[in-house]
Assembly symmetry: C2
Homo-oligomer: 453 residues x 2
């Protein structure tokens, strides 16, 4: 059987997973590629590092990138190093030496997509990136190939497994946000510094890539409005459940009049719908197309082998020639695609969940509903649970020291008030909540979250 | 922009949907194909039939197949006629006249796949069939391309929307099987004769296709053990729910030692897992690969535009050249794939749900559990609900007239007894149930269903 030589640059977790699939399971790649994908060379920075989970043949490992660049027989290279540099320079050098590249580096695409894709087109090479978004879910191929007959109306995704793990953990065990983060770190689902994961940046970078594929526009990811999960309180998860919802960090892009609206934010999703049932480190994407209707995808968003699965599928697609066709046809990140800013989400209709910490006395609800009324916000549900108000719960919200003391002395009881609205706009609720926050009977931070469907 | 001429044979519901996508939305096909897919000719049997949902330009419609066969400019044809003949002959003629073919006809593939694919290979043409399985879910491309780096361990699918609609309807409204079938017919989800849908045949044909793609074997679909949904009783849906499950018609294929085990049968699926939450006419497929883990797909399984979406994606893949590569590489339905019979599911481990109609007197449970014990079947849960036993419910099960009369007279009360087993084998439960059915205290048919995960 014909052999096609491939290379790997970067033998971190994913790189070693790719090497294992190529070395140990050549039969399956052969069946799908009609040839053997032969791992000729794997280039690393540090040859001496132990790599116990992969058994490399002699001479495969090298610390010299030129051994790939100068080998004309190597036609495709999985470039599996993180960060922006030297990843960008190495990708340019690979393209310039005639290699087709496969990458899992979404940050690199989010920052340097136009430069890298333009250079690849000039050189007649391709870049594949299935592994860059939602790891084990083949969402890139699905949107850009399988659903190509559709006008995509919307995408809603759980694109960050770390955040979803933390929210699930809080939901299932009642853990606080910080305890759930600690557990995620302990289990390897979160980095020592998980800020890109929990603040929504990682999801926003992936959403920008999906929006590019789905809507044919280029959206600078930093302009996507985002809110992370650090403000989600275990109490909110419980109140949401009472109302029939779970809270998930959703990344949403939807076609609206004259543009695309995008945001990343903790969102209440109805229990019993597929997105609400996504637990742990899983990812999920719901795509709505005008012909196909709603298609839902669920799978592992990260991890060694799920990501390696996507990389090897891209290597196969590259060497058999499918990927180069897609690459040429779609002209991704080219000037064919307008650079657009996300539309102001303020006027997009939607329902909202709000939680206020209020004095437990008559007249408070009337004051708050009067303000909501002035903003034309009508109320679908109210929950007041003084019986559930414990000191622990109060301390989890943002009360000042003096208020907590009052509670301790029993002079003044502060209770949570939860309100679910009917359809309104983001702007109305934002304005109403900032007015409500100034009431004397309202204490600390107000919580406000979108309600999805 | 370059134009590539395509044709349609058969302007039924799906054909008209494909025509609409090609005629009204050329911009999107152009973006994904890098050229315009130009609907040159649509061939029908009866020119005079009204087709109000599509506005065809002059000269597109024709009753003469030769107008497609003899037009060398038409490179790809969507053949959208059902049944085996003349579909088979027309497909051969299309291939012989140099056309690449796209089809939605799973029965044709299930019966004549080897002949048609061999002929296409001889002629250097391709056959695409994304629309043949699970309509709007691009499961064919996903298994054969996106997950190509995996050894697939198992596939579990809800592949028949009609059955799922009927089960959902029974579950949600408490309707009887026959009332739910009538409603499905009224809403257009079921044919006048829905037997292929409800007896599992349709799902078995689709499962055989998916198993071919996933496991690289050819399985004669008629050899797949199947059980339909007509024996599912509203009471079973309620008991399943009490135990934490829903009942779904699952089509399952799994790699086992020395082969593949396949079956189609009503199965208890745990509430809160994605398969249990599939409602109405939706389809879903869960694929487990050794690298990627579990990937779950959910979408509309049929209908004009979801199916048309799959057909047009295949047309695009065909004209840009991706599909022909896949077709050549995979050599589907060729002698490269061994013809195998499904393994006897008797020895596959699993849990089972059983329902017996028994006399309401002491000692009955002891008699039944003694038999289960002899077959090494241990019991996870038992439900006895004499309080729920109404005459209506009893009449829904298979009591004889004399037994029903007894109940009416109050002489003898017959109550349902539900047992959920721990892990055992299909054969043990089959043998045990046939022994239990012979007890004097057990009446009518015994129900036995698999429990999934």
């Amino acid at each position: 059987m014909e052999k096609t030589k491939v290379g790997i640059v970067g033998m971190g977790t994913v790189g070693r997973g790719v090497a294992r699939l190529l070395l140990n399971f050549g039969d399956r790649t052969a069946r799908h590629a009609g040839r053997i994908l032969w791992l000729e060379r794997a280039v690393v920075r540090d040859l001496s590092k132990p790599r116990p989970d992969v058994d490399l043949p002699d001479n495969v490992l090298s610390a010299d990138l030129d051994e790939i660049l100068e080998d004309q027989g190597i036609v495709a290279v999985a470039q599996l190093i993180g960060g922006l540099e030297p990843a960008r320079t190495i990708m340019l050098r690979l393209l310039e030496s005639g290699k087709n590249v496969v990458t899992a580096n979404k940050a690199l695409l989010a920052e340097h997509g136009p430069e890298l894709f333009d250079r690849a087109r000039e050189l007649g090479r391709s870049i594949a990136f299935e592994a860059a978004v939602a790891g084990g879910i083949p969402i890139v191929t699905n949107i850009s190939q399988c659903l190509s007959a559709n006008q995509i109306n919307s995408i809603a995704g759980i694109l960050n497994g770390t955040s979803n793990f933390i929210l699930s953990e809080m939901e299932e065990s009642g853990a606080s946000y910080s305890d759930a983060v600690a557990k995620a770190q302990e289990l390897g689902y979160a980095e020592a510094d998980p800020s890109m994961d929990v603040d929504g940046s990682d999801a926003a970078q992936k959403l920008a890539i999906l929006a590019h594929l789905a809507f044919g526009v280029r959206v600078p990811w930093r302009e996507i409005p985002l809110r992370g999960i650090s403000s989600v309180n275990p109490a909110d998860l419980r109140y949401a459940e009472k109302l029939g919802y779970r809270i998930r960090l959703l990344a949403v892009a939807q076609a609206v009049t004259d543009g695309v609206e995008l945001h990343v934010s903790p969102t209440l999703v109805p229990i019993g719908t597929p997105l609400a049932e996504v637990r742990g480190a899983y990812n999920a994407v719901r795509v709505h197309g005008d012909a196909v209707g709603s298609v839902f995808y669920h799978g592992l968003g990260a991890g060694q082998m799920p990501t390696a699965s996507a990389v090897v599928a891209d290597l196969i697609d590259t060497v058999v020639g499918r990927l180069p066709i897609t690459f040429r046809t779609l002209k991704l990140w080219s000037d064919d695609y307008a650079v657009v800013s996300p539309k102001d989400p303020g006027m997009i209709p939607g329902r909202f969940y709000m939680r206020f910490d209020v004095d437990d006395r008559p007249g408070v609800l009337a004051q708050i509903t009067a303000i909501l009324g002035r903003y034309q916000i009508s109320i679908a549900a109210v929950i007041q649970h003084p019986e559930e108000t414990t000191e622990k719960e109060l301390s989890a919200t943002a009360l000042t020291a003096s208020e907590t003391e009052d509670v301790g002395n029993g002079h003044k009881l502060i209770v949570p008030l939860v309100i679910m609205t009917h359809e309104t706009t983001e702007k109305s609720t934002r304005d109403a909540v900032s007015e409500i926050a100034r009431l004397d009977c309202v204490h600390g931070e107000c919580t406000r979250m979108r309600v999805g469907n």
